[in-house]
Structures are given as C-alpha cells and as structure tokens.
C-alpha cells in the first residue's frame, strides 16, 4: 500500500494526482524591517504570490510607554516626550498638548505668540508633506523627487534650527506661549522661502503627479469610500481625499485660524475615482499651497509684544479632564488629559490619527496586487512613532 502511494507512477493512486493536489495561500511577513512600510510596521500578508487575499497589520514595535511616562513627569517636562511621538511633525504634537493645558487653566496667550505658533505649525505641515511627496515617489521607484523635496525641506529645518535650536525635536511651543522670539531677519527669510516654494510645487506636480506611470500606479487603487472612512474614523487628508469637506481648522477652530482666510482642498477624482491614492496625493500637494497662503497672511499681520503669557512657576491644574483636538499633518490629533490637582498629570492619552488609519488596511487590501498594496500603505502616510507612541 505504501509503496504504491509513493511510487509516483501514473496509475491513479499516487499522491500527485489531480484530486489530491490543492493550493494554499502563502503567508508572508511584510516584515518590520522593510524599506516601504515607513517604520517598523509588520503586515502579515496572505497571498497567492501575486494578489493579496488578506492583510493583517501588527504594531507595537516602537512602543515607548509615552502615556505611562507622562504620569511621572510634570507638565512642562512632558513636552519633549510629546515631540517624539510623531517625530516628522513635532510642532503639531506640542501645539495640541499646550492648547489642552491652556484651555484647562484659562490663560491668555499674547497675540504675537499666537502668530508665531501658526507660522511655525504651518511650516511644519509643509515640511511633513514635502517628506511625504519624496518618500511616496521613492516607494514607487522614482528616485529623483526625493532629493528635490529634501532640498526644500532642508531650508525649513535650518530655519527651525535658528529659531528654536533643534532640527527635528524642538521643545519650542511652551505652555503659555513660545520659548524664543523670532527676529526680523528670520521673518524675511521665511517670506523668501514661501515665494520660492510655489514654483517648486508646480515642478513636483508636473514631474510626479502628472506622470503617466505614477497615475497608472495610483489612480483607481485603494479606493476608500466616505462610508468606509466614517465607519473607521479616518480624518485628515484621507477623509478629504474621499470627498468629504472636514477640516478641524475650519469646523472647530482653535488658536487664530478663524481670522485667516484659506480653502480646504477636497479630492475630486481627477485621474480616477474619488478616494483613490492619487486623490490623497493631490490633496496634500494642494494643502501645501494653502499653508503658504496662511503663512503669508500671518507674516503680514504679526504684531509686536510679549511671547509668553502668565503661567505660575509651579503649575498645578485644577481637578478635571479635557479633550482637545487639533488638525495635525496626518489627521486629527487629540489629547485627553485627566488631572487630580497635582503637579503631575493623572492620565494623558493621545489619540493618534495614524493608529485608526492603519486599521483600515485589512479592508482595503483584498484583491490588490502586492505592488499596489505598497502604494496604498504609502498613501496613508503613517509614522509608526504616532501609531505606537
């Protein structure tokens, strides 16, 4: 009996006959070390070697216990920790935290500090989207735009080094205002940078966005309908790329955004359907132009005055809790701070947008080719520091 089964001769009883052969899906780790997953994200992909059947993301490789650390360190000392969550858009993280605490104690922030905060935050949004453009192109194989975008980004980082002292993790936006003042020479240089940026943005759109290969690889891929975005709680450029007009700077304004005049770009499906990867790319390009508009208005309207409001030296928050949400470069960032009256917060929870966006991957993935899956991961612009905190 055994010899007949293992004989391999064709008489219908060998194990290689047609009825006994079956195919299985191959489980492959798109592992934590991967050049295209933007950090340490592990995606367990079940594939028949070309088309993805199932994708399960596993996170936690960059967990650094941010929320637990915050329970042991006083309010001012937590700001360097907040920077390190989303290290590519650190000003947004600091701004959300400081606005939450200021709302709870009710301080008045001087006008000059508000203008400086908005200028710095919008510059940081431009820097983050420039990095997105370069890195998305390099994921899809185009090496040139990466260095063009990083050349512009380098100018922003040099400006930040003069203003705040550091290139990437600033500790600049403090409770009650900002740390250092901006001098007039630096304001002139910000204006020059903004004037030089618009032709560069046109260049990137022509070089990358209109290119036929890029359009073929990103249009009609990874369509996220508005209903899917509502179900999962997606915010930011993903929601706007699906056609929904929702920007926290307009709907629930904070700081001085009510006085500024800018538009909110929304995806329209110019090269494919609404909500595909190309729309999300185009929304971010348009957002950079709107940020330049905002910066120019702030540069015209900046007033003289102090840069720090009145905050007691030993900061104790009243008992209570607050949830403050702001629009960061990747979506909605929320801080839920619970205080029991002491010098140290009782609980700080940061709601990060990238965490919810990573949870949309299992629904978008089935049916995509593996190369398209890489394009989808790139278009949601995750930074694992924010996902894992």
């Amino acid at each position: 009996m055994d010899s007949k089964e293992n004989s391999g001769n064709g008489n219908g009883h060998n194990k290689y006959s047609g009825e006994k052969l079956k195919s299985e899906l191959l489980t492959v780790n798109m592992g934590p070390q991967h050049p295209a997953t933007h950090g340490v994200l592990r995606v367990e992909v079940k594939t028949d070697s070309e088309v993805v059947a199932e994708a399960i993301p596993h996170i936690g490789y960059l967990h650094r216990c941010f929320e637990k650390h915050c329970e042991n360190i006083d309010y001012r000392g937590n700001i360097p920790f907040c920077d390190r969550m989303d290290y590519l858009a650190a000003m947004h993280m600091e701004l959300g935290y400081c606005l939450a605490i200021e709302k709870m104690i009710g301080t008045e922030i001087p006008r000059r500090a508000e203008y400086i905060r908005v200028i710095v935050t919008e510059l940081q949004r431009i820097a983050s989207h420039l990095l997105f453009t370069g890195v998305y192109a390099i994921d899809l194989g185009a090496f040139t735009p990466f260095l063009y975008c990083f050349d512009q980004r380098e100018k922003i980082l040099r400006l930040f080094e003069e203003i705040s002292g550091a290139r990437l993790l600033y500790n600049y936006i403090w409770i009650g205002g900002v740390w250092n003042d901006i001098k007039d020479g630096q304001l002139t240089r910000i204006k020059e940078f903004c004037d030089n940026l618009i032709p560069e943005l046109d260049k990137y759109m022509n070089l990358v966005g209109q290119n036929k290969i890029f359009v073929e690889r990103t249009a009609n891929i990874g369509i996220m309908t508005p209903e899917m975005c509502y179900n999962y709680g997606a915010t930011g450029p993903i929601l706007r790329g699906s056609g929904v007009d929702w920007d926290l700077r307009k709907k629930k304004p904070y700081s001085i955004y009510e006085e500024l005049d800018f538009d909110v770009p929304v995806g329209e499906g110019l090269k494919g359907t609404v909500g595909d990867c190309w729309d999300r790319f185009a929304v971010r390009q348009q957002e950079m132009r709107e940020s330049v508009k905002i910066i120019k208005q702030c540069l015209d309207g900046i007033e003289e005055g102090p840069i720090m409001g009145k905050v007691p030296k030993v900061l104790k928050l009243p008992k209570g809790e607050i949830y403050m949400k702001t629009e960061c470069a990747r979506g909605e960032l929320g801080y839920h701070i619970v205080s029991d009256g002491g010098k140290v917060p009782y609980r700080v929870k940061a709601k990060s947008s990238c965490f919810t966006h990573t949870s949309m991957l299992p629904e978008v993935a089935p049916g995509l080719l593996i190369a398209d899956f890489v394009a989808v991961i790139g278009s949601i612009d995750i930074v694992l520091g924010e996902v894992d905190r």
Partner: protein, 167 residues
C-alpha cells in the same frame, strides 16, 4: 474589489501611448535643467564644516566655578541624566560669589551628566539661575564606549574647555 478598471478601446490604446510620451517629455524637461549650470548643495564634510547657528542645542557645558549647587537642573531634567552631589561650605571659609553676583554657599563634589541619556530639550539650561549650564554648538563627540559619554565637569580636562566656550 477596491479597484476600478475601464475597458480598453482602440482609441484609448493610442491615447495611452500619447499620454505616456507627453508626460515623460514634460518630466524630462524638468530634470534636464539639473544637468548643467546648477550649483551642488552638498556640503563636503569633513573638509568643509558647517557652522551651526548660535542657539543650537548640542552638547552641554557646565562652568563648575559658577555653579551654586542648587539642584534645579537635576529636578527639571525629564530623563534624570544629571547627577549632583554637594556639601555645605564650612562657616569660616571666605565668601565667594559667582560672575553674576550670587553667593556660593555649597561646594560641588560631583557633577556628572550622562550625555547618552540626555534628550537635548534645554529645560535644564532655562532654570539655571547663574547660567553656568549652557548648550554649546559642539556636535562631533562620538565615542567608542558608552562609559565615555558620562562627562564629569570637575575633571581638569573638561574644565579646560572653559576658555573656548565661556566668553
């Protein structure tokens, strides 16, 4: 299915070819300008060194002569990388002051900063009352072992940096 394909007609086939040629030429006309007459932005380190701006937060330096051992920097540090030990000066010693007039009442016996733990946030320099602890712009201090990253600011070799740093 999350993808959406349209059908391919003969007209679409030739349109695709024309679009491909047109957009490639558009892209090439942008990149070909970088072949001639463009100044490279590369800084050829280490022959050319970039000068960091003044306020840049790099390695810390503590001027031990001016330190009054108040412990504020160690309390403010979020990662606890400053180790300070001090003892009170004897009552009959001469009265000395720092460079900005604060009397020195304690004597510093140990002042070590573990630079490998430091997160360069600058909170310690803000609270120093005599400004003896400052950020310098030294950024080239990699070492072979992690123990060498503990800087003892009472060591005469480190105190000798004072001539270069303190104005």
């Amino acid at each position: 299915m999350n993808t959406h394909q349209e059908e391919l007609t003969l007209k679409k086939y030739f349109q695709n070819i024309w679009n491909g040629i047109r957009t490639t030429i558009k892209g090439l006309s942008i990149t070909i300008k970088y072949v001639y007459d463009v100044k490279p932005v590369t800084v050829e380190y280490p022959e050319v060194r970039e000068i960091l701006p003044e306020g840049s937060r790099s390695r810390l330096f503590n001027d031990a002569q001016n330190c009054i051992s108040c412990d504020q920097c160690a309390v403010a540090c979020p990662v606890d990388c400053i180790y300070i030990a001090s003892k009170p000066r004897p009552k009959d010693a001469e009265k000395i002051k720092t460079s900005n007039g604060t009397p020195i009442r304690r004597e510093l016996t140990q002042y070590t900063i573990d630079t490998s733990l430091c997160c360069y946030c600058g909170l310690c320099t803000t609270v120093c009352p005599t400004e003896s602890l400052t950020h310098t712009t030294d950024h080239e201090y990699a070492s072979y072992t992690i123990d060498q990253m503990k800087y003892d600011y009472l060591d005469p070799e480190v105190v000798a940096w004072r001539d270069r740093i303190v104005k």
